[in-house]
Amino acid sequence: MFKLESLSLMLAIALLGAGLWTASAAQSGTGTGIIQGNIEAADGTAMEGVLVSARVSGKSFTTSVFTDRQGHYVFPPLDAGQYKLWAQAVGFGAGRAEFALASGGVDRKFTMAPIRNASLILRQMSGSEYLASLPQSTPADRRMVHVYNNGCTGCHTASFTLQNRWDEVGWGILIDLMSKTGSSGVAPAPDAVGNKMMLAYRDELSRYLGRVRGATELALTDLKLHARPTGEATQVVITEYDLPRPDRPLHFADGSDWSLGTPARYVGRAAHDVWADAEGNVWIADDMVPERTIAKLNPRTGEVTDYVLKDAKGKTISTHSIVVDAVGKVWAENGNDRTFLMFDPKTEQFKNFPRQADMKQGVGGTVDVDSKGNPWATSDNGAIKLDAATGQYIHYEAPPAEGGRLCAEECGNWSTYGISIDRDDNAWVTQPGLDRIVKVDARDDGDDPIAVVLAPLSLPEATEVDYERARTLRGGQNTATPLSKAPRRNAADPNDDVVWNALFHANRLARVDTKTLQVKEYALPTPYTMPYATAVDKNGVVWINGINHDALVKFDPKTERFTEYVLPTRGTEIRHVQVDNRTDPPEVWAPYNRMNKVVRLQFRTTGGPGATASR
């Protein structure tokens, strides 16, 4: 039975009327229906913030919504068909149903029982919940959590490793292996030299992990679970699209069933970055999957089209970052040749831009495009720009790093990670190992690049050993001492003189005024989120993804308030976030780098057509 007084249902109708639902009903020739219902606890009280997911047989996407304050959930109109429906909340057993949806609708009520076994709850937890739950009542233990945080989560979410329990020797074996293993997971050569920073902390970290994730399981009272979403954070429709790998079948343990824990990315690592174009297609960069240089997702159907370009050796060119410019050209970095690559969606042809013979510096891993249509990327100790008209590359060298607090010149050529072009066409490049952000003035008569150095992190539990290692060992976004802030990826506000930077290790968002160079830092609401990238929409709202937190985080600079949108998959391990400004509020897109999915958030707002009632 429909409950027409439901605000959620009215909003769904309103959004349908506004033409915002693009991935469900429109393509069906068999009609649509409404799935809705209520969720209550065993004592009969309504449960808000429970994620309810629906998947129809024969389609490649899953739709999820939250229950509201009354414990009510309602999906937007969905295709008729055979459905699986499941409801999940950390700490509770899942509710499940299967049914046929016809025109009209289906009403399903779930009663969720709490889980009393810590091991079973742990499997449901995100990486940020794991780290918060580790014993840390003493400064020494808190320091070890920071060591794990800054030495491990750059490559994987904490929930993947901490769902294991090994003794000290076992953790030591794992750290030895990880110290020699790249982010791609390729096995090290027998003579590989381990990462010095990881090995420096190896003994004390394995001792700590052997104690807290070893023979004795955490108790129920140790678990620090996030509060379920409430209010605004529940007013969202989440669509997760499969991004199938042609080299291996989709795996049933894809993070959708939280009771199975965090999956291996062996099963599904694929998309690294995404970018929505003006037609609503989503372009995908991929540095893992064979026979795919870039891919295009059609959100209206879920269809994924792979495009492949081979290098001179016949190898599939790899991409890591992707941007669609103002005229619809798709830019990415050619990871094989370290050049820029352009794809024209109209002709479906790639064009590679070789560097001039005397240009030694190559195109790095992240890309943006300036107002003139010229692509920029991070590069060796600076930034690199292509003049798209002439095909000439220009490299901009960052100023020398100052030594002292962090190992600088003596630790070699410093790497860069994130890049964003501000509204004046200045490039902003992060240097995670140096805790600084470099401004590159690209005008012919512009100033030399200048570095904005972040204030040192104050961490009471840090020891002299940490300060010494910070001075003498090379740090970076993936391995650093607990004293690191590690600005990782960034995004400029298209309508303001501001660049927003994700401080990966410090768990903060940094606002940099592009004119005054003033810095203001904001602590994220959830510890150990590990903010990786940012995006700024047309309204100046900032979006942040955390590699260690299965959520996308919104920050409104006007109110200085964060809102977290929890995601329906465990082990999302997101490395990029983007916005589609065609709607208001804009939709948000992100790739799950561990699980081969791409996610879209659409927001349920009041005031739309038909939204006249409330519960």
């Binding site: 329990r165 020797v169 074996i173 030895d176 343990a253 062996y266």
Partner: protein, 157 residues
Amino acid sequence: MSVKSHWMLVGTCVLLLLPVAASAQMRASGRIAGVVEDTWVAMLPDVTSGVADAGDTLFVIPTQASQVSQVGTVETVARGEAWFYQRCALCHLDRIVKDDTTAPVGPKLNGVLKDASPARETAVRERIQRGTLRMPGFRYGFTAEQFEELMAYLETL
């Protein structure tokens, strides 16, 4: 010589030359340098029961093949496959990055339990739970049910 064959040769030499006492000593030290075991054929360890305390429940993981049912339903095997990918794939499956496939750091497990005798299955169970010089022991990380699901999947390889 390929990287893979080099590792196999080293592994074989290690298994032939290392006395049990030396292995135990190296494991206790926690420092593993260049030691490779690349075959499961020579495993005949002692058989004991592994016990893991998992929160409110005490899980007793059987280490002898005779202690458990050999029946592997489709659902059981599927869940075992999930545990295999989650806990084992990093070291025991090829790594694919774009067009390049590289051998895993550990041995591939294809056929490890194919037509295995009870003694061999017991040895495999013991190996997974105790670990090796290069592999952490999984005696704490699986419930008894999960472990049987993993074994059911390994039997299909």
